[in-house]
Homo-oligomer: 141 residues x 3
Amino acid sequence: MPIYQVIYRDGLLTNAQRDEIAAEITRLHTTATAAPALFVNVVFNIVADAHVYTAGKPSKMSFIIGEIRDGRPLDVRQELLTALSALWVRVTGHPESQLLVGLRENDPANAMELGLILPAAGQEAAWFQEHHERLAALGVR
Amino acid sequence: MPIYQVIYRDGLLTNAQRDEIAAEITRLHTTATAAPALFVNVVFNIVADAHVYTAGKPSKMSFIIGEIRDGRPLDVRQELLTALSALWVRVTGHPESQLLVGLRENDPANAMELGLILPAAGQEAAWFQEHHERLAALGVR
Amino acid sequence: MPIYQVIYRDGLLTNAQRDEIAAEITRLHTTATAAPALFVNVVFNIVADAHVYTAGKPSKMSFIIGEIRDGRPLDVRQELLTALSALWVRVTGHPESQLLVGLRENDPANAMELGLILPAAGQEAAWFQEHHERLAALGVR
């Protein structure tokens, strides 16, 4: 974690926009939380045309849903929401009214990467030190 | 929020059924919670044939997963589950045994639409009033 | 519940690997939790090529995200994470560094299958007994 899922209608993003959004989400998340970039995953889910509805009618909504480790202060989470929303508008040119950004908080004890249970938010440095040899063997850091 | 994700196998719904399900989920959610229809998003995710398994074997299960703002009473949530299940059976003609309906509760402070942090459940009217000018400028209400 | 979502890049799994992963996730979950296999759903979501990024760059990450009923002890959850990670490496031959496994805990009172609210973790036997007639009519058990 985090895993950011970007849900968007087919054809709505160019490859270059997708690349930029992924890079920027990663930059914004690591800046806001001090988490290592290595932990930041972004998955783009394409939805078929006319498969998104708002208020009961087909709509042009896109969604950025980030599943993050819990323990981040409210102001950090809300600054992140604001930055993600602004990023989307800037890169896509779509209006802010066609985007929902959400965060879902999860216990890092419920997640494993590289065969290792994730550290609590803020405990990354100790975790990298503790697992130094294994991470090196996996080609990480 | 809410975001309702409807996960179903390719070819299982006609366009008309999809339209009706989206309209009905919206109606059921707004009736149960008094949330404005504007907040209700429904996303249909098509799963490839033979990509859904139950009890370890390919199955015909469909899924409706609603991510809603927290703070809704238990009876409201469970009446909503019952109504969503009945809706699906009525529109699709599929048996109730081929559907899972779930709700996931999330803190509205973790979500942003229209560039605004969402109101707590029940605080919608004050929120619309507070952000009246911005919403009008975005063409909302 | 549970619903396990396996998110992987197009072309990364054969049909036989998918079948084996679904069967093994079901076996591992029922072994770890004593939940009935009937409750275990596995959905495979294919992501388009170059639609997954890690650290801001396209990556080969896959994801197994299980949404489970809450109330499972920490050691049960973490043994499950370890077993799921090992399963993936064994069946796919991919390195452990290209997998994230996560669990998301949810209140069973927020989920309905077969038209019935799910039992709390550990209360399955009483639930099957209570709903015996309805389940039999649906062809379950």
